[in-house]
Symmetry: C2
Subunit: 215 residues, 2 copies
């Protein structure tokens, strides 16, 4: 059997690919930790062990590398956010689990660093905000909205705009500890704090979106 026609993974291509990944790994770490200005191409090359010429043969400039890193990290973040929303649990339990998991991920050191980077560089790199928004907040909201939509149709929640409801629930969950982490007031959320935040958010949300009592 010969090699399959479509992907011709010659040795060179493969090497090139994994090399590229390695560069992105190192670059991502540096950008996330030190920001755009605080990251130097020389340092990246040094950490890689390779030479600068090689680095430039993969990415023609720091800007381009930065863009690639953001795209990749955001993608990784999205992938990691495959949150559970199991209707079989019952609506309240499902939402509660979802919120806790969501808050945990969104307040991880990596996620906070990414968020800071996106917001901080939104001026210089407008596309960065768009990429991030489309992949993170927007997807989460849509996922959640679909779930809420179903619940509304079943009469388990009051009928209303599901997307708005989804946004509001994420807002309620994020606006406490997440906000403070973003600004550097605290640098971790204990599991208890997460629980507490979720409880508060859920209480308010459920009260506002409880199914109408009368028929």
């Amino acid at each position: 059997m010969k090699t399959p026609a479509t992907p011709a993974p010659s040795r060179r291509e493969a090497n090139r690919q994994s090399r590229r990944e390695a560069i992105l790994d190192v670059a991502a770490e540096s950008f996330l930790e030190h920001g755009y200005a605080g990251t130097t191409m020389s340092a990246i090359a040094a950490t890689l062990g390779g030479s600068k010429g090689t680095l430039w043969s993969y990415f023609e400039s720091k800007d381009v590398l930065f863009g690639a890193v953001i795209e990749r990290v955001t993608e990784a973040f999205r992938a990691q956010l495959s949150l559970i929303l199991n209707p079989a649990d019952g609506i309240e339990a499902a939402l509660r689990r979802f919120c806790a998991e969501f808050l945990r991920k969104v307040t991880s050191a990596e996620a906070i660093a990414l968020h800071r980077l996106v917001v901080g560089e939104a001026n210089r790199f407008p596309e960065v905000g768009e990429i991030f928004y489309a992949r993170a907040p927007q997807r989460t909201q849509r996922l959640l909205a679909d779930f809420l939509e179903t619940a509304m149709e079943r009469g388990e929640l009051r009928r209303d705009d599901a997307l708005v409801a989804a946004r509001q629930l994420t807002a309620l969950v994020m606006y406490g500890g997440h906000q403070q982490m973003l600004m550097g007031l605290i640098d971790t959320l204990t599991p208890e704090a997460i629980q507490a935040e979720v409880d508060r958010a859920m209480a308010t949300f459920l009260r506002a979106y409880a199914a109408e009592a009368s028929s």
Copy 2:
């Protein structure tokens, strides 16, 4: 009569003071527009018309100048946020006005620029986040919480933790357009959009915190 003992506003002092203000004005504009890394001391000196030596005689380093700018701009922001919460209007109207005004201010170009700066530099300048948080979100929350507290005591809202309620209301108001502005997806909120955001937030909030129906 000699010069008064306590304030000796000699000509020199006065000049020095106003000069300092002028520097901070120029520096603030630059930091807000171009960020920390994007701002150069030379450019500030050039815009001022003065010489670099003079600039350094007022602020011993770029870091120090940045700190002073943040302190000042945050203070200005806080002062501008003397929001109206007039209980005589009735609770719903009062809150509605408050939220609209709040959202308008928080989505102004200046406020967004400041917010980005604070979040983006929270790593390098930890004190910046603290200053900002204490003066902006925290104060607003406390102001609002006091109002809600009173309303709760009067039985106009369901009895609950007023500070949490305040945080939740601001969260509901801010998480839509403000979020998108921060990330550069849009760069203004029309008055209509503000109205719509406030309406949605208020509807949810009032449902969740309506006074208990039964006695």
